[in-house]
């Protein structure tokens, strides 16, 4: 609360500088996280496939840490995700929201690495962290007349949203504690990229193609709406 009030009082310039500062911190955080986690995460669940993947990129020498480190890393990354997601909701400056989103998406990628879903983690980093979000930030900066515009919904709406979201949170927590999830014995073998590709063209051919059509429609629609400045 205090930090926000201060930022509001100190005017546009320092807010800008502050946002840049948190941006740098965010990038540093994500980069260090990636450096720390990307190798350890995949080795922690090293399976035959993962090992072959690592032999290809040449990090076979790393010793598997295992043990206590996994849960600690998991909870740390999960907490980062939650805090960053909260930050997206609470931040009032659109660029700060983007920064928080950057951290949230980056830590989701780390969660994937921790779960030994290497390919998914890499895709998450490339597509969301690397592509979509950078595009989003550029889009905001290039199109908006004042990129530091503040977004403040009315109090009544905030209270209503808080009540609904709180109820949902309670319901979800109850479910997570009471539900019995199906579990697989032992470690699920990692999936190679070749296997993924094969499945996309056989078992999951229809969703794959429909997703392609959907993306084409989104592109056509977006291009059309963006062009329509008459």
């Amino acid at each position: 609360m205090f930090a926000r009030a201060k930022a509001r009082g100190s005017g546009g310039l320092s807010a800008q500088a502050k946002a840049c500062g948190s941006f740098r911190i965010a990038i540093l955080l994500v980069l260090t996280g990636m450096v720390l986690l990307a190798p350890t995460g995949s080795v922690a669940w090293a399976t035959d496939d993962a090992v072959t993947a690592e032999q290809q990129i040449g990090v076979t020498g790393a010793a598997p840490p295992g043990g206590l480190l996994e849960p600690i890393l998991f909870y740390a990354v999960a907490m980062t995700t939650v805090i960053a997601a909260l930050g997206v909701c609470i931040a009032k400056n659109i660029v700060r929201m983007a920064v928080w989103l950057f951290i949230a998406l980056g830590s989701v990628a780390m969660l994937y690495f921790l779960l030994a879903a290497d390919f998914l983690g890499a895709i998450q980093l490339i597509v969301y962290v690397g592509g979509t979000l950078i595009l989003l930030i550029f889009g905001v900066m290039l199109t908006s007349k004042s990129p530091w515009v503040r977004f403040e919904p009315p109090k009544l709406e905030l209270i209503g949203a808080a009540v609904v979201c709180g109820a949902l949170l309670v319901a979800l927590c109850v479910v997570l504690y009471s539900a019995v999830w199906p579990e697989t014995e032992g470690v699920v073998p990692g999936v190679s990229v070749a296997d993924l590709g094969r499945r996309l063209l056989t078992t999951y051919l229809v969703p794959f193609e429909v997703a392609g059509v959907l993306l084409m429609i989104v592109m056509v629609g977006a291009a059309h709406l963006a062009r329509q400045e008459k």
């Binding site: 479910v175 009471s178 999951y204 229809v206 429909v210 429609i217 629609g221 059309h224």
Partner: protein
């Protein structure tokens, strides 16, 4: 794995896809001479897809690629979506400015493709993508439909809320996936599937919350309370022909998806869920009708009427297929019959507003309608038929639709846990139909009783008037001969009857309805609706 075995059963979908891409390509060329071929192209594509559907007949469930399951439900959905799609193309014939017609028609075709895929989806991923394939083109259509800031506002509003509902739907589906460990909806053999989860009182809390979130996500698509708030603004902002599409396409896809999900649960819902859906249905009917009474703009009136109709359809969904076969007893068959009729009659009402302009702008309010009967008697008659059908007055198919829905609730067996509350719900529906008559009569009265204030000019051209005629004439014809559509609606639910029959294997599909005459002992049907169903029972 045979390419032919994959592609041939999907001929209608592929024709729509290729046709939509062709329309997009023609849209890039942009010379006026090519542009006038876009609407006929779309018409031909839909006709070709209908022809392919007819040639393929009712799929037996054994064909098609993994992820899809082609059944009698697919056949019914194809027929209805493409049939009403034909009318949608006719009504939208001249709607957008010439340069944008290619994209516009392509979006209509893509949206129809989404409906077709929803009905065949047997995988949660396909279901999600298909629902999005229905929705995303409608966002674009609203923005393209007219060059007006209100249309852009409506499109943006619909897009943001739609994205939110898509997120909720995806979240719910992910819970179902987590509970079942697979994305398959119905399994053909011993494999895992969502339909093999324990439902009813033994339902796991993760599956339960997944089911609830999926319902919330889809409730947005069908415009059920409390996710109806967008409807009036969006319907008002979009051009009338698009509004006619919005009333049918997302609603139909949403209900088909709901039937598929509820079918996977065997209609064995915990009591709390039943009560929640009961409240949603009652609130949807009542809110729709009461709010419609307060409106002056006809598009807003029809928007709230659309919400009220969602409420009636939810009765059918809640009753489910447990009471027996045929639309008089099977709530889902009644729902399918009603949604098909609703698509045409709702589109017909909007088609009139597409066909005329008054005072230099499209017709919108009750005052604009004044005197239309004297100027264009046939169009006014078509409007009157459609509005009477929406009201549910006897010589129209809308009456039969309501009759089927309500009688399905009345024919529930007394051993059914929710027999009493569902009958109360049907009574609420009957009362609501009476309330609804008030605002429908205002539309007809404005057209027939009042003198002309401002000159209305026909603008829609011949195809739009054809569309209007083809929406209204079937309303009378279907009242006289409802058998064809009612039988198809009954056949569409055969799969569900298979799944609720404990004797049979879960997934024996068949095109032959006569094999399924015996009912399971647990769900004894009543031969006729009990306790005075509204009106005379017209057995199909």
């Amino acid at each position: 794995m045979n390419v032919e075995a994959y592609l041939v059963p999907l001929a209608p979908e592929l024709i729509l896809l290729i046709g939509a891409c062709l329309a997009l390509i023609v849209g890039v060329i942009k010379t006026p001479r090519q542009m006038q071929w876009v609407s006929p192209l779309a018409l031909v594509v839909v006709l070709a897809a209908l022809l392919a559907t007819w040639r393929l007949g009712v799929p037996d469930g054994s064909q098609g690629p993994p992820g899809l399951w082609l059944t009698s439900l697919t056949f019914y959905t194809r027929c209805i979506a493409l049939g009403v799609g034909l009318l949608i193309v006719l009504v939208n014939w001249h709607q957008p400015v010439a340069e944008e017609r290619g994209e516009y028609m392509a979006m209509i075709l893509f949206s129809l493709l989404g409906v077709l895929l929803t009905a065949s989806a047997n995988d949660l991923l396909v279901l999600f993508f298909a629902i999005e394939l229905v929705s995303v083109p409608t966002y674009v259509l609203i923005a393209l439909s007219r060059e007006d800031s209100r249309a852009s506002e409506a499109a943006v509003k619909y897009f943001f809320l739609g994205a939110m509902s898509a997120a909720i739907l995806a979240y719910g589906l992910s819970f179902l996936y987590g509970a079942a460990g697979t994305t398959t909806l119905y399994a053909f053999d011993e494999g895992a599937a969502v339909s093999k989860l324990a439902f009813g009182a033994q339902m796991g809390s993760h599956a339960l919350i997944g089911l609830l979130l999926v319902f919330v996500g889809l409730a947005f698509k069908v415009a059920a309370v409390p996710l109806h708030v967008y409807a009036a603004d969006v319907y008002e902002g979009a051009a009338s022909p698009v509004t006619g599409l919005l009333g049918f396409v997302p609603k139909f896809a949403g209900f088909v998806a709901l039937v598929k999900i509820f079918g996977a649960c065997n209609w064995e819902l915990p009591n709390t869920v039943y009560w929640m859906l009961w409240v949603v249905a009652a609130a949807t009917m009542t809110a729709g009708n009461v709010l419609a009474l307060l409106q002056k703009n006809v598009k807003r009136i029809l928007a709230y009427s659309s919400i009220a109709h969602t409420g009636y359809m939810l009765i059918g969904l809640l009753v489910g297929p447990v009471a027996g076969q045929g639309p008089m007893r099977d709530g889902v068959a009644a729902l399918f019959f009603y949604v098909a009729v609703y698509g045409a009659m709702n589109l017909g009402a909007f088609a009139l507003f597409a066909a005329f302009r008054t005072g230099g702008r499209p017709m919108e309010t009750l005052d604009d309608l004044a005197g239309i009967a004297a100027r264009a008697p046939l169009s006014a008659l078509a409007l009157a038929i459609c509005v009477f059908s929406l009201m549910g007055l006897p010589p129209t198919a809308g009456f039969l639709g309501k009759l089927y829905i309500f009688s399905s609730a009345f024919s529930l067996d007394e051993s059914h846990a929710f027999c009493g509350p569902l009958i109360v719900l049907a009574v609420i529906g009957v009362v609501n139909s009476a309330i609804g008559a008030a605002y429908y009569l205002r539309i007809v009265a404005a057209a027939y009783m009042r003198g002309e204030v401002d000159e209305s000019i026909p603008t829609g051209g011949r195809p739009v008037r054809w569309g209007l005629a083809l929406c209204s004439i079937p309303m009378i014809v279907l009242f006289a001969w409802p058998g064809g559509l009612a039988n198809q609606a009954r056949n569409a639910t055969i799969v569900l009857h298979d799944s609720i029959r404990p004797v049979h294997a879960r997934l024996t599909t068949t095109t032959d309805a006569t094999e399924h005459q015996q009912q399971p002992a647990a769900f004894r049907p009543h031969q006729a609706p009990r306790r005075g169903a509204p009106g005379k029972p017209a057995a199909p």
